[in-house]
Symmetry: none
Subunit: 181 residues, 2 copies
DNA sequence: TATTTTCCCATGAAAAGGCATGAAATCCCT
DNA sequence: AGGGATTTCATGCCTTTTCATGGGAAAATA
């Protein structure tokens, strides 16, 4: 059996994910504007990966686990996370009675606190207000590919982050657009 | 993970379910009002998943396994639960004599304590009184996607739950609607 | 008849989609 | 390699559609 993109299905289940979704990784960066209505272009290089991975013109956005930014990925990756959650639930089955509590919290975090956002033919989304607030996104959005997922930063917050590479990246992208006095 | 013919690459049998029903996952959240007549809009993003999974304009609602809220899903997922129950029954066969007791209890819970609720063309249901009571739903309903299923909370109960993410979510959705002083 | 339940229409807000533009990047052909 | 032509992108504006929710008529129940 072959995929539309010509790749064969190496193994089933979890490995199937790795064979396809992780075949294409997010890398690179871009700085785009958020307009008055919260509309925002997803950079073309991100869209091309998203569509190759999942065949859907949509991204899933959530708060980043540790950093003050958003974390995003394609629907295929979301399915991967779901399967992973279920697997962990089975593993924990029959241990402490709190297994299920942990499971449901994880599921809520992975799916309840994220939003599936389709983008239009021109590649734009409306950043959901809740995400905009969580990611502290104002009128500029810095996209940063990090392999399996990508991040969306307020570039000015990125400028003050502990990660020097990130600071440099943000500074560069801002200068490039003639921003930052 | 898609083939040119649109089928997913997953295992057969049990996982055949994942190929169809779990191809689309519930995520995101919304806070809707229950009006004086007891009517409640199912958020559009939930309906779209329900209909893609089962092409029926109905949801199945039951009490949540561990949390003080309701758990809901589409009819296809209900079939999945049935198969899952049977599988577990077989697995437990020949262990302790209580296997069947457990099985029937589970089946009762899965099907007896749930209700199939069709929604009208505009996407509204009338929450069955028993469910409304079990879920302690008053005049607001917080929908939370959790992947394979979604939850329906009384937002004020969610505000006091142990899951911090959920509390935050409820607080945000209430604020957004100008509720909660 | 009185009361509840079901269906249909109305409405305002928000989102989706389409169209246009200017700038940048890419291609291509000397 | 240079330079002009074409394509791709990001982004602004405007129109159409969708969505949640309210109210009322019609139908069913008591």
């Amino acid at each position: 059996m072959r995929f539309a993109n010509g790749k064969s299905c190496v193994r089933e289940g979890e490995a199937g994910f790795q064979a396809v979704e992780l075949e294409h990784l997010f890398n690179g960066s871009a700085l785009n504007a958020v307009d008055a209505k919260g509309r925002l272009s997803i950079p073309a290089f991100i869209r091309s990966i998203v569509e190759r991975r999942s065949d859907a013109k949509a991204i899933v956005v959530g708060a980043h686990e540790v950093d003050p930014c958003l974390s995003a990925y394609d629907r295929g990756y979301a399915r991967h996370l779901h399967i992973e959650n279920e697997r962990r639930r089975l593993n924990e089955e029959g241990k402490t009675g709190s297994g299920d509590v942990t499971h449901f919290r994880r599921a809520r975090r992975t799916f309840g606190l994220t939003e599936d956002v389709p983008y239009d033919p021109s590649g734009r989304i409306i950043m959901p207000p809740m995400m905009r607030r969580k990611g502290r996104i104002e009128d500029l959005a810095l996209f940063v590919g990090v392999g399996g997922t990508f991040e969306i930063w307020n570039p000015f917050i990125a400028l003050e982050h502990g990660d020097e590479d990130l600071r440099e990246l943000a500074a560069y992208r801002l200068e490039e657009k003639g921003l930052r006095p």
